[in-house]
Chain length 509, copies 4
């Protein structure tokens, strides 16, 4: 909800599952796909889709798509249609283009010379327009505006191998990767296999989990033969809800094949010499669920470190520390710990305020976002508050909150933002308001405190954010690398383009 | 409803409209498209779709699709989205494949190198499988099983002209026609033009109408400048409901361009030397609405002639003639006129009996189709009835009706069928039960009267049907030909494949 | 549909079913109730309701209600809820008040001191306002505007018997009947019994049928022990669709008890001395389905007689006779038979034109009702038509049809109306436009032919209509009376108030 | 969600609004009613209803009802119907009976001799069965099982005043109160007035707010003439979201009249001599939103005091304190403050896990409630946790959470419950599992820690809870009483029946 108001939005979440062992499987693949998707719901609420395959020759695919939340899009009756699936991929979508139609809903399924394939994609191709033209010049009509269809047609048309030679999907995927550098985390299903692919910059997340008996979920000694299936997901937070153990990340540039026989790394496509990885730093700041693990560290812990760093960079003479519930809470607790100020709650959020209809130009509209919050007056009346927010995008949501707190008795409200000012557009999968709408690019920003009614405002520095993120990665890099050959592709690096304007690739690529 | 029970079904109806004169038009194009489609609803009730274009450079297309009847699929609110359309095409679909999904709903819209195109199709390509493989071999992934997508991709990929040369759609359409002989009546919209195309055999119908001021709708002296727009439709029955005058048929093999400047015949692609046209004779017998005009004659009149012919071929010693309401009524009236027997009504049909849920294996199921009918007992008690039906497909619907009439007091029931026995599958757009299900191919057919409980049964002969159809065409051919150059393509001929097994083209084409 | 446009509408249909023999029954009571209701759908399309009882002590009632047609209102899943019913009543409603809400949907169910009762009602209480006030003065709050609730509360509150005495429903029903003379055909269910009640004037129809094995449906020798259940319905046309045999009418003023033990006449409440019965003559003319039986004669036959009578009263010098499909067809055939003119079809009706959205003030609106019809031009071009309509209410629907026929080539169109002009409001259950809206009360009526564009117009006389209706009743009265004691209440008489202004009871009753 | 799983549920929330000053009002009454209801959504999610009146003579009422959340039940289009309302009442319902039907949705509206009234009710009449029988003995049929209809009919039938005398609603309400002692917080609308009533024991909450210009929302000097309208609500948490200032509570036994002229206390009906008030203590513990104010104190503060008290009663040798998000958070922070242990977060909750379909008997079902939570492992691995929960009802939800924490690395998990064990049913509006289902009544309770897998378990004592609640009331009582005459009815007292079995009134009342 805050996302919608702030105007920042993630594009998508992808999730896949392959049952291990003999087929037909006893594993409830359709349910795993559904619940896995529910756990990625924060990455997109516009539409959802699932495609399963029975894995036979030829395979039977079953597709289910719907608008809205997963729980709305799929009825129990509809899910029954998927019950013969032995593997499948699923997708939840956030609309960045404003064209909210079932037709754009992923996964995208097509018949090719080499059989039916299904594709689910998180990210945004930086050179999508050039690629569309290339595909159309080949004589292909494109029926949607989605990158997923574009990717699918690119996989279908290159290289032009004869039917008898077989598809060689790995060659086709490599060819696709040579056509576009970033950003994509991709699942492609063909018959009985899922290919999990991450672009060479690793801009969007993707990780693998192992389904084990619930009773062995958290025990350390899980045997190979305990594996009931494999899952692959945008975020590891989905693993708890389906009873999977975290296995590993898909590396930047890696093509992984997941089948009933297990997980196999097929290739790691390198970046151009000298380029660092460019994992989106806003996944840590904003998008990911706090219990997800990226690069060996928990997102919650990174946010807490951001809060600590903020307390170091911008200490405040105040009585209490609090949060704008609830995404800023880890940072607020970090700030409190570092500063020694007591942590309290000052706002109570109404979870049911959603799409309630408000007529324009009424007194109720003046209440703004404050409609959603109740002030916990007794907790802070007469006190000076440090209020931690995770970001300030347009500046129009924090202002009514400050007003609410002051009118309810706060003597001072100091805003501390646990990320740097957002100044630049993203072309790699995040929906950000135009430069003109971003408060950091507007004249009011010179007196941002005055503009939003705060007693003071401080943002975390870019350096502070990067160090808070990268501090926890070092040891991980040494310990957990699965392959020495891929070391070079795993030097630490993050995309901070929206904060610094430094894009990981040339935009005219 | 009878169609569903008999198991015969039409595939589709197509409809298009272009506003004449200056744009933005005052003509209510979206409403014309909707009402035109409603008038073709008998050709398909599964889903409906409309695509409009504002005709600008580049054009804005708006698409609306939905499941079910036109009135269900499109809400008034949704139709508002189409209000800026200056031209458009629409489609209503009957599901032959059993895959009833929004995704298969037409028109199909794609972006090509030469801009966005929309395609609506009635018919079935006899060589669809070979064409699919050809398209996929070119590297195109096909996302649906519909011929419409296949046609669209064929139009997009051939010939491989450079962007700067422009699309040359006529060459592309001719190329398409060289790839597949039949059956298709096709509407293709590109920017500000609709191309109306009929396959060289003229297997599916297509005709053109002119929108004039309502006040001049039926006056003979309509001036060129009175034209408010042009419509193109599977059947002319749609013209009355939108206030259009019948203009002419699209000829077999003809490519017609319809724009705001008027109607222009671009080409007539010939059939192979010696081949006759092959307009589906079952359009006359069964599918078309009785007020539609094909080949210069009204369907109702043909059906009435079939009834007369039937009375000549199979006279009956009986008291009264009646009909199975209501598609057989014209034939019944023809039979009555020819035989001199009085025409009466014996059955009253409940229009609301539709998809009411009946549990299997109950006594109510034994009532069968008789549930839908009330016997008008007083009209026929103690009398011998000649009951005209338009066709007997499986033999399971006429039987309970005969039982109902007899139990209500009819002393004899003689069945006269106004078409010959159905014996062969159709590969050109009509959904017919398998050969094994057709009563005419079953052992019971030897004693069909006994099997269905009638006192006697006679079918119209193939010769009788053909002569009843073609008798009205002769004068028409001489009078109304629009172009002498196309004479050769208009010799009289009809497809009777489902009755005779003689298909107009080699099936392995 | 015509009803809606003409502005005349029936209020409701009621239907009940009790399984005979041992309970739990094998009879599919819920399906019988549903299909019976579907067969009464022409009496009301706004909402539908079913209440079943298992008949136990205490009984379990199950209620299902929904908006729209029966097929829309009840899903197969929902109908499953009713599967334990051993008896039940159902109702389909036409909205006369404009308040179209689920809340007004019948049957109405309440808990009383003597257990739960359910009530379904067809008709309109002439003294409803006075009764509402009486009930409210007793201290009862009324939650709907429906007469059904009013009747239910009247049954609950009178007479004030103590719980230990039992309800004595017959006394309560008689008391209700003493409070209001007409109009009501009523079904009341209590535990294991349905009471079927018709007001002393017999203004609304009600009849009883017997469910027998389908195999014995039309044989004459049905034994007592063959009875599978009893049904009670507004019209006998519903019997065919559920496999029931017509048993008899409920008499004016009669209270019939239907239980698993059979049908029992409890009482016949007499009319005031000298009053005749007043069965609504418009049931014959317009509302009822042609295969229904009233007063021993088939509605179709009466309509045919009206056509014959019309030919006698208003002969025409013309070439052909035809009908406005399809309610006027029996009268048209009657006119043709009497006049010797040939009967043909001139109009083809599009069954799918329904609630399609048409923007106001467009050229399409000018087409009016003609949108629904295709002209069968070849049948009548150059001919003089006698066109039979069943009634002309506002005069706005026949006019575009005449125009359509003339423009399509009819040289003359003579309108013959198979009923007299409508001039007065109905207070007994029929929705009729206001006096000012009725064409017969307007100045234009003086030149009605000119006004609607016909070459001549003639209506059936009131005397002609009454004799056409009553001619078939005489013999029936002598033959079939079930009880000599009730003879006096069955002298022949009909309500012609909407035609003559003579109401069967004082309106200030 | 937890409520549903724990099996405790509130019955309802009520909300009303009257526009001040001249009518038609400029105040967006329908929106205020809707948003007010949204803020009470935690009190009931099954259905919602709104009734507005224009306040004229006679008034026009408009009713809107729907199933599900307020945002689902009311579309923007539907809300437009309410736009002429000058006052109105609304209701949100939690289904306790399992009969989830639109019919039971409140407010209940009826026509009485004295005009139409609408009633919304929170609570449960302890003597509902006796009252139902009394009403039915009077001859009233009851169409629903809801207490709201019962109350409405009681208001309608007593006393039997003649129409000319006027309704005297206050006498009728007093009569109702003499018939039933508890529990009810009631809104009754008649024409242009809302009566707000609270039962003499004050068992359910009800308070009044004043709508002021948004700009003056939190300033202290609001003038009489600034009043834009009055609102009345189950909880004051709704005031923030509509821009209202807290005005005062409705007192136990008080009848308040709210009109455009202001708020007027009409009467305070006393309790029997010696009886204390009996405000439901579980409103503090569990149901109410933390920012609501009861008896002059914020619910959040009471919960925090419960946490402090729990730390005193049950100190723990542990490393960190945490919460089961998120209702237990105030108590957890209180426990942390009192104990000096650091407060951390250990669980991350997936807000989207809702009604997702899980097949029974699958491995996913074994995950239980843990599906909803992600473990924030890094925060607590290797530590001893004190986990605060607000209540343990059945014992089946806390157990999987403990398992999850332990498997994720917690060395000890000590459960501290911020309320006493639930042992007795509630007959006054709260839905509690049967005695047999309550874990505190089961044999397993003797070793509750072992049963749920905790290292130790302690509940707050009843005395501890009561003192935590009442400690904040003392000063309030002296300061804020609006009327000295009502002092006696405001001595401090709470209903602890579900904990102690001591009910405020005799149950056979």
């Amino acid at each position: 909800m805050e996302f919608e108001e702030s105007g920042i939005g993630e594009e998508c979440g992808v999730f896949g599952c392959v049952a291990a062992g003999e087929w037909p499987t006893q594993l409830e693949v359709a349910q795993v796909l559904t619940l896995g998707l529910v756990a990625l719901q924060h990455r997109g609420q516009e539409s959802a889709g699932i495609v399963t395959s029975n894995g036979a020759s030829p395979p039977t695919y079953t597709t289910l798509k719907g608008m809205g939340l997963v729980s709305t899009a799929f009825t129990p009756e509809a899910l029954l249609k998927l019950r013969y699936g032995n593997l499948g991929i699923s997708h939840t979508r956030y609309s960045t283009t404003g064209i909210s139609e079932l037709q754009n809903c992923q996964p995208f399924v097509v018949d090719t010379l080499h059989g039916r394939i299904a594709v689910a994609h998180n990210g945004e191709l930086v050179n999508a327009q050039a690629l569309r033209k290339k595909v159309m010049r080949h004589g292909v009509g494109l029926s949607t505006s989605s990158d997923s269809e574009l990717i699918t047609q690119l996989l279908a048309l290159t290289p032009p191998i004869e039917e008898r030679d077989g598809p060689d999907w790995v060659a086709r995927i490599k060819n696709l990767m040579s056509e576009t550098p970033t950003s994509y985390s991709l699942l492609m299903m063909h018959k009985d296999v899922i290919y999990a692919v991450r672009d060479p910059y690793g801009n969007r997340p993707l990780c693998i989990g192992r389904l084990v008996p619930i009773s062995k979920l958290h025990s350390s000694g899980v045997e190979e033969e305990d594996t009931e299936g494999w899952v692959v997901s945008s975020e590891s937070c989905s693993f708890q809800s389906i009873g999977a153990k975290y296995y590993r990340e898909v590396l930047p540039g890696e093509i992984v094949q997941i089948s009933k026989h297990g997980v196999k790394s097929l290739s790691v496509v390198p970046r151009p010499e000298g380029d660092l990885p460019a994992f989106c730093i806003f996944e840590y700041v904003y998008f990911a669920r706090p219990d997800s693990i990226f690069e060996g560290q928990m997102v919650y812990t990174v946010r807490q470190r951001c809060g600590r760093q903020l307390a170091i960079e911008a200490p405040t003479d105040a009585d209490v520390v609090s949060t704008v519930p609830e995404s800023a809470t880890p940072a607020a607790l970090g700030y409190a710990q570092q500063s020694g100020l007591p942590y309290i709650e000052v706002l109570c959020k109404n979870r049911y305020v959603g799409r309630t209809f408000i007529q324009p130009n009424t007194r109720l509209r003046q209440l703004g976002v404050a409609k959603k919050f109740g002030a916990l007056t007794d907790n802070f009346a007469g006190k000076r508050i440090v209020l931690i927010d995770d970001s300030i995008v347009r500046g129009n949501t924090i202002s009514p909150i400050i007003k609410l707190l002051k009118e309810a008795g706060a003597t001072e409200v100091h805003i501390r933002v646990a990320s740097p000012p957002l100044r630049f557009p993203c072309y790699m999968g995040i929906n950000i308001p135009t430069k003109e709408e971003l408060i950091a690019n507007r004249p009011e920003f010179k007196d941002i405190a005055g503009y939003i009614g705060a007693d003071s405002v401080h943002y975390l520095t870019v350096e502070g954010l990067v160090s808070a993120v990268q501090e926890g990665i070092a040891s991980f890099q040494e310990d957990k690398m699965i392959s020495s050959s891929s070391k070079s592709s795993n030097r630490v690096g993050h995309c901070t383009a929206c904060l610094t304007g430094k894009y990981p690739v040339e935009l005219e690529w």
